[in-house]
């Protein structure tokens, strides 16, 4: 520890007064990663809570670990299953081959995301003379987890750069962004490189393999109105999909951790589920009114299927709860979460071109969140005005 501290101490003059001034944000980011600095409260309250932004963010990363590990195995499992190397079943799931396949695909993606994103973050920290914010520590894991396993690394890099630049830095950086950066990256990739983001090849590493396919549950629903997977498969995660989104169970473990630590908003998660269930039940009720048999069959899917298939669970737990892009007021969070769930299922069922409705629903609600907050804040203002009128009357 002393050795690391000495290293930082000896290089500090070079980046503060010396020739390498431009590297100060990087130096500072690395140093504060190793050591929480010895800053003392200098104004206001003299004691402070031991939590800081780094610990808040690393808590989210811990919560993502189950989904990440499951994603590594599942990527390999889906690939080997599709090309016929293995039989389906748990016996062939937790194997070294699956893990290796997944690791070789996913770890480079994580590395590329971090390098692309942090390079831009550090540049802006230097340009705007502030410290590197921790928000991207989470985004850097989230972005790979919501990509198909087969996406080329350069697309990941460009999507990440787009998300950090247009999604975050143009608005003033961490804390100021309107859209969730990770979903901005996915939306960019989705619309810029649609062939790599949808279809029945990309989810199991089959882009260069002819003759076999592996469609996601939602993809199947959108084209045929039925699905070859059971609800238990969907809950446990033995289905093709984006890397981190398939196992509702692993996501649920993360959700419990986020709620227990108080870092994730349980209000948003719960209300998103309520919204999805509401929409699912409405669809069940009106399924007979649809014209095509595929639509009738898709609308009649039991409402709880929607909670386990596709990216709904991942979105509701890790994306919708991003405190910056979600509603900021406590009442607003209920409305925001409910509508995220409601629109997710609506878009996914009614628009076969976008089977993954949750991404669009959250981005849409990110844009709407300030409006929700506006009305919540206004209600508080009106209450105060009313009080004055009662006094005067």
């Amino acid at each position: 520890m002393k050795f690391v501290q000495n290293l930082f101490d000896s290089t500090r003059p070079a980046v503060t007064t010396g020739k390498l001034k431009g590297l100060y944000p990087l130096h500072n980011a690395l140093e504060t990663m190793f050591f929480v600095p010895n800053h003392n409260a200098h104004s206001g309250a003299h004691v402070r809570d031991a939590i800081d932004m780094k610990r808040t963010m690393v808590t989210v990363i811990f919560a993502l670990v189950p989904a990440l590990i499951f994603g590594l195995f599942n990527s390999g499992y889906q690939h080997h299953l599709a090309i016929g190397q293995i039989e389906s079943g748990w016996a062939n799931f937790w194997t070294l081959e699956n893990a290796l396949y997944g690791a070789l695909k996913v770890i480079p993606m994580i590395a590329v995301t971090y390098i692309a994103g942090l390079a831009i973050e550090i540049y802006f920290a230097y340009r705007n003379k502030h410290a590197v914010n921790e928000g991207f520590l989470v985004s850097g894991i989230l972005i790979p987890l919501i990509m198909p396993v087969d996406i080329p690394l350069w697309m990941v890099a460009i999507s990440t750069a787009f998300a950090v630049l247009i999604g975050k830095e143009v608005f003033g950086g961490t804390g100021m962004n309107i859209l969730n950066p990770a979903l901005t990256a996915r939306a960019f990739a989705f619309f810029a490189y649609p062939t790599y983001m949808s279809g029945d090849k990309v989810w199991a590493g089959l882009t260069n393999v002819d003759g076999v396919s592996s469609a996601t549950a939602l993809g199947q629903y959108a084209s045929t109105g039925t699905n070859s997977f059971g609800v238990i498969d969907g809950f446990l995660g033995l289905v093709p999909g984006s890397i981190g989104e398939t196992s509702t169970l692993a996501i649920l473990i993360g959700a419990i951790y986020l709620i227990a630590t108080g870092v994730g908003s349980w209000k948003i998660m719960l209300s998103a589920v309520l919204g999805a269930v509401t929409m699912g039940l409405i669809f069940n009720g009106v399924a007979d009114l649809m014209i095509s048999p595929e639509q009738q069959s898709y609308l009649a899917v039991p409402f709880y299927y929607h909670l386990v298939f596709g990216g709904f669970a991942f979105g509701a737990v890790f994306m919708a709860t991003d405190p910056v892009s979600a509603a900021h007021t406590e009442t607003g969070k209920w409305i925001y979460g409910f509508l995220v769930g409601f629109f997710s299922i609506m878009i996914r069922v009614f628009n076969p071109a976008y089977p993954e409705g949750v991404m669009l629903a959250i981005l849409f609600m990110n844009v709407m969140a300030p409006l929700i907050d506006h009305y919540v804040v206004n209600a508080n203002i009106q209450k105060r005005l009313k009080r004055v009128q009662t006094v005067q009357a």
Binding site: P37, H46, V47, I51
Partner: protein
Amino acid sequence: MPNLHTVRKGLDLPILGAPDALVDGHLSASVYAVRPSDFRGLVPKLAVKEGDRVLAGDVLFTDKADPRIRITSPVSGEVARVERGEKRKILAVVVLADSQQEYRKFTSGTPANREDAINWLLESGAWSLVESRPYGRIANPDAEPKAVFINGMATEPLAVAPAVALAGREEDFAMGLQVVGLLSKRTVLSIAASETAPALTKASGVELHQFKGPHPAGTTSVHINQVSPLNKGEVVWTLNYQDVVILGHLARTGNLKLERVLALSGTGIAKPRAVTAVAGASLEAFLNAELKSGNYRVISGSVLTGTKVSKTDYLTYYASQLTAIPEGEGTDFFGWVLPSFAKWSVSRTLFSWLTPSKKYDLNTKQHGEDRAFVVTGLYEKVFPFDILPMPLLKAMWAKDLEKMEQLGAYEVVPEDFALCEVVCPSKQELQKLAEEALDLLYTEMN
């Protein structure tokens, strides 16, 4: 129970170093100083010069904006010097105290009516103890407050219970209540639901309200918010129970004795207890005897809202607490990710929630760097007002006066954001932000 208010949101800091519940000793000093910066918004106009003899109760300086507002000397003696800073700004008026204290005699006895009471308080300088809301400044004597709120509670960390501080001073307190009762049609006394001291529970001539719950249940802002929320254009005056004792003493004897019971607490103090102390006392000799050796921060006031002072400094004018806690030292290797049982956090990202009754030797460490607002919903947990803290703070940040007004800026003083500041993971300086914003609001509105 009538008038019982339960406050659910808030936080009692689990901090070690609570004072013993007895008054033992006096903070004796030979030098006293009054700092204009202790009075929010006051621009001083000196009434003395170096070498002048003053009695306790003689005016040292007045408010430039309203010369009727006098700040008087807490002790008799000789004006040793006037400390000045940049642009000759007056930092402190220092008085060398006589060994035998002499008081300027003011009229004793309860004044006949409101006008007499106000003039008598203005003349003696005791008016400095009457604060007004909004803004939390010395009251404007011409205002017509809708009520006077007397705070008979002490929920700040490491404070002394009012029952302890009032013991032996019941007569002065009762007399003080009579004086305060003249100032407005409505006088509200707020006490803790668990209060047993008869001086408080059986106080006469006041509207009694009881409060229970964690800090800030004992702050005047919460009391006003619960009993009679402040609307635009309305004014209330506020006093602390110890100030009422000072007014009562003035009425009984004619002497303005600015003496309070001071909670001497924190882990840096060898023997945490209560002592009596006169406003502005020099701390040097006293702390040499009371402070443990080591690197401690001395705070005139509580750890939430007090002023950092050096060992050679003076007690602030309104202080009823003197706290010493360890200054944070050293860096923390991977302190943001490693689990630790020694650290305290309201969030459950550390383990302190497993031991809710454990107390900590909290130091002044900030535990992280300044960041942008990111996390939402945290301030709300410790902010028991019908006010949205984040939107209000953002309006303050943007200096949007209209929004501030609409969101309830008149109902708060900077100290109300102390707990938000404690729990903030972005380490924002909220009290400073609120202070600047409210100053701006005051300037624009007056």
